[in-house]
Amino acid sequence: MAAINLKDNNALRPSAFARFREAISPLTQSKTAMLGFIMVMFWVIIGLFADDILFRPACWSEDSECKATPWLARYEAQQSFRGQILKDPTAEHWLGTDRQGRDIWARVAHGTRIVLALAPISVIVALLVGGSLGLIAGYFGKWVDEIIMRILDAMIGIPSILMYLVILAALGPSYLTIVLAVTVTGAPGIAKLVRSLTLDIKTRDYIAAAQTRGESPWYIMFVEILPNARGPIMIDAMLRMGYAVFAMGTLGFLGLGLPPPSPDWGSIVNAGRTHLLGGHPWGALAGSLSTATLVLGLNLMADGLQEQLNKYR
């Protein structure tokens, strides 16, 4: 038994490695995707190494007394510098300081973490919900499809900002609410995409082959259909990640996002907004440009991957 397992593993190992190389090959083959990837990775690295807290498991619990040592962020997000109010960029403070004397670069770097944690989480949740609904609607068809899709159509009919407002008003601002808001607005679109892919894929002969083996609908949906829809879903997810970053920026800017002193990018822009005309655009600029570069990076990645995917067809 053990011997056979060993043999199995040996046979799988090269193929698993090959599969990994193949999975990232569209990225390395397209210049567009590579550029986007570099832009996104820039923020990922800033987020990871803003300070050392992510690398000290002892500090992860809420009530620990740990003091983080800033790395790439250079200072802490809430650290005020006496007499350094609304300063222009200097060697000390790369992007200047805000009204409360806090280093803007430090706030942007710490804010990266919030953005890069919440955007993927909310998109993944939206994918799980929307993807499942789309699969079910597309695979079962008939009245199941009708009912699911008409409800989702009704949700698409509500403007997303209005939807955010309703959800935030009802539940109050928190991480969870933001994830929920992005999920609720994103899921119908994902469901539509997955449904159309399912409708196409379910007519293929290998689905009929699975049905003639008496496989359950869930097996067919998640094991036979879903892996073949992953390309377009991944591209869509990347674009949606961009939208989510935008949505969070919008919420922060409107003052509906996380409560102060949260350093999320939307809040930074909102805080800097009042000083735009006062000759101190640094806060607003830093928050906006950060959002823009991250969204652009995600979009470029999606574009490049799309291009590669079309090439295979």
């Binding site: 046979a11 290998y206 049905q211 008496g214």
Partner: protein
């Protein structure tokens, strides 16, 4: 003699890719004269279509003519700009593509599209153009052409669409007509009519035609000269009679051997596939391109390029520089004169798969289908439909089908598309719900859908599919996909699954390296083999094969048929085999059922179906089959129109609207009365009887002449 309409000399076409130029076509030399049809045949990937696109300079952004010359009506077409070409060529080259539906613009009605062809190229009034279009439609035997002009492409049948496309191509009276697989997407009956039309038009318009097809039978019917292409080269070129009677190139000979002839069955002969596969144009063998697959190859073949020369001339003489003389026989093989195809011995002797009941033993019935019907409700997808309020129409895809099938035998199901063949097997396997009737498999009832059936029953019924590209899930490796049924049905203990997969791969003549390959790394034939391995993994008793070889090339088809026969014999599997190719069914099956519009018209032992007495529909099908032998005479019976919609089948005998023998029945009995089954031959075995569903008495049907002679 006149100058040729088009003269292709040493044509080479290559595609630029990121890994350098790929020579798709090399050394192609031929002339076509007025009123002559040259057929180009060969397997997929041999460059037939590339030649056609090269002639009209439609090679796409990365294609280019990299050598040779194309002289059209005395002027060279190579190396000129697009505008110059347009002027030179004018409107005197017409082109007809494979799929008529995609050649027509769905947003314009037929009249507008046809008139556009005229008005774009010349100043002509709308009325005159319309008049010309109408005449042309009449010329292509279009029934009620005025009405057709007003219709949109989706409102007319496939055969009519192809007629419109041909009419459009002929509107400007071209001197050269290029047809790229013009009948491949059509049913045999319609194909036969379109081929007749092409032959007529050539005679009347005196057009030169380049006819491309993978089907040797089709080429034999319409072409007087045939060129065989292999791996981008023309390997043989001769008059059609000559090439079919006396093929000189080993590849042509191999193609002929791989092809089942109508009337030949598995008991009397074997099909010999050509080993190996067509080399990719980026990795051609250094010497003769066919050398790796050739039974006659010598050391010299491996290193020396072969020249294209006329038979009985020294091998140094390259015919590419010679004028192409009509009637000459050219070949690209230095041993062409010495090779005797009759003396050919297969590298391995293939066993004949005779009928298994030599000892008079009657095998038990495994499948008993009784008055089976499958009706669909169409138009029930709206929200109203969810509440049962939608307007619905019943489509009677299968309507009252009965047959019995003994163990270990194969039943072939033939008929035009839309006759309900696929629905029948899908109902038996449980992918569609039956509406009424009974189907019994051994002691199991097949009433429930596959999902609700007992696993022990599910295991016994498996299916082989038509399209090699859709039969395997692209996301999983070959091994994983064969594993699934093994695990699901618990065929072998889980620690032996991998060994069993490898055994199955070997069974379908693939080695164990295929275990980790992904479907897109396989060729069509290999995918089909994996599909067969998967179907047979659970050791089913009944395998339903839905056109398993239709999408494959001739040489691969032979190998897959042999494989299916071998596994069937080893495992004693009962099979239902759907096909539209009557020669393949005849070769493969013990019994044949001919279906039309949801009903069986005739059923019986394979050999009985192919000679009188037969149902008039069977007769029409036989008369339409393209036979790869120009000397065979077929009776000239052509069916009009398309198969009626199963939502609204004709009354009485369903075939009465198209029946060529209706005159044999007095009055309107065919329209009003449903025929009864006539049993032609009764043996002790009930399964062996030959039954015909027709009003015409059997004695009279026996007097019908042979469809092939």
């Amino acid at each position: 003699m006149d100058a040729p309409v088009i003269s292709v000399k040493n044509l080479a076409i290559s595609y630029e890719t990121s890994r350098g130029d790929v020579p798709a076509v090399r050394n192609v030399t031929f002339d076509i004269y007025r009123g002559q049809t040259l057929g180009l045949v060969g397997e997929s990937g041999c460059g037939k279509s590339t030649v056609a696109y090269g002639l009209v300079n439609y090679l796409g952004r990365n294609g280019k003519i990299s050598g040779g010359d194309i002289v059209f009506q005395g002027q060279s077409l190579v190396g000129r700009s697009g505008e110059e070409l347009r002027k030179l060529r004018g409107n005197s080259i017409g082109m007809v593509y494979q799929d008529p539906f995609t050649s027509l613009n769905p947003a314009m009605n037929v009249g507008e599209q046809m008139m556009e062809v005229l008005t774009v190229h010349q100043k002509i009034s709308t009325e005159a153009a319309r008049d010309k279009c109408l005449k042309m439609l009449q010329r292509v035997y279009m029934p009620s052409p005025e009405k057709i002009l007003e219709r949109y492409p989706h409102q007319i049948s496939g055969g009519q669409q192809q007629r419109v496309v041909i009419a459009m191509a002929l509107l400007n009276n071209p001197s050269l007509l290029i047809m790229d697989e013009p009948t491949t997407a059509l049913d045999v009956t319609i194909e036969a009519a379109v081929l007749d039309l092409i032959a007529d038009l050539r005679r009347d318009f005196d057009t030169a035609i380049l006819f491309i097809s993978h089907n040797l039978g089709v080429v034999a019917r319409v072409c007087e000269r045939v060129g065989v292409m292999y791996a981008g080269e023309l390997v043989e070129l001769a008059m059609a009679n000559e090439i079919f009677a006396n093929p000189r190139h080993p590849y042509t000979q191999g193609l002929m051997r791989a092809l089942p002839r109508l009337g030949v069955d598995k008991a009397s002969s074997a099909l010999y596939p050509i080993r190996g596969r067509v080399p990719s144009p980026s990795r051609l063998p250094p010497g003769c391109t066919f050398e790796p697959r050739c039974d006659y190859a010598t050391e010299a073949c491996r290193t020396n390029k072969q020249v294209f020369r006329a038979l009985h001339t020294p091998i140094t003489q390259d015919a590419a520089t010679e004028p192409d003389v009509l009637g000459s026989h050219k070949v690209r093989c230095q041993f062409a004169e010495q090779i005797d195809p009759k003396a050919w011995v297969p590298a391995e002797t293939l066993a004949l798969y005779g009928r298994s009941d030599q000892f008079g033993k009657i095998p038990e019935t495994v499948l008993d289908v009784d008055m089976l019907s499958t009706h669909y409700k169409s138009g029930g997808t709206s929200l109203l439909g969810a509440f049962g309020l939608g307007k619905r129409e019943t489509v009677k895809a299968v309507d009252g089908v009965s047959f019995k099938l003994p163990r270990g035998k194969s039943l072939g199901v033939v008929g035009e598309s839309g006759s309900g063949k696929s629905t029948l097997v899908k109902t038996i396997i449980g992918l569609e719900d039956m509406t009424s009737g009974k189907a019994q498999f051994m002691s199991f009832s097949l009433e429930k859908s596959a999902r609700q059936r007992d696993l022990s029953l599910v295991k016994e019924l498996q299916m082989v599919f038509q399209n090699p590209d859709a039969t395997l899930n692209p996301a999983y490796s070959v091994g994983k996909q064969i594993e699934r049924p093994l695990r699901r049905f618990g065929v072998v203990p889980s620690n032996q699954v991998r060994d069993e997969v490898i055994r199955l791969l070997r069974e379908v003549k693939l080695d164990e390296h295929y275990y980790d390959r992904l479907p897109r790394q396989l060729s069509g034939g290999e995918k089909q083999r994996v599909g067969i391995a998967r179907a047979f993994a659970g050791r089913p008793d009944l395998v339903l094969a839905d056109e398993p070889v239709s999408a494959l090339d001739v040489s691969v088809q032979a190998a897959v048929l042999n494989l299916l026969l071998g596994i069937q014999k080893d495992q004693g599997t009962t099979m239902i085999f759907i096909a539209h190719d009557l020669s393949v069914v005849r070769f493969f099956c013990d019994y044949i059922a001919v279906m039309y519009c949801g009903q069986i018209m005739e059923i019986g032992p394979a050999e009985a179906i192919y000679s009188p007495p037969y149902h008039p529909y069977t007769e029409s099908l036989l008369a339409a089959v393209p036979i790869p032998d120009p000397t065979v005479q077929q009776s000239h019976i052509r069916l009009d129109g398309a198969i009626p919609s199963p939502a609204n089948p004709p009354s009485g005998c369903r075939f009465h609207t198209r029946c060529p023998r209706r005159g044999l029945v007095p009055g309107d009995k065919c329209v009003t009365t449903v025929p009864t089954w006539q049993t032609i031959r009764t043996s002790d075995d009930d399964n062996d009887s030959h039954r015909i569903f027709c009003h015409i008495p059997a004695e009279e049907l026996s007097k019908l002449e042979q469809a092939l002679h």
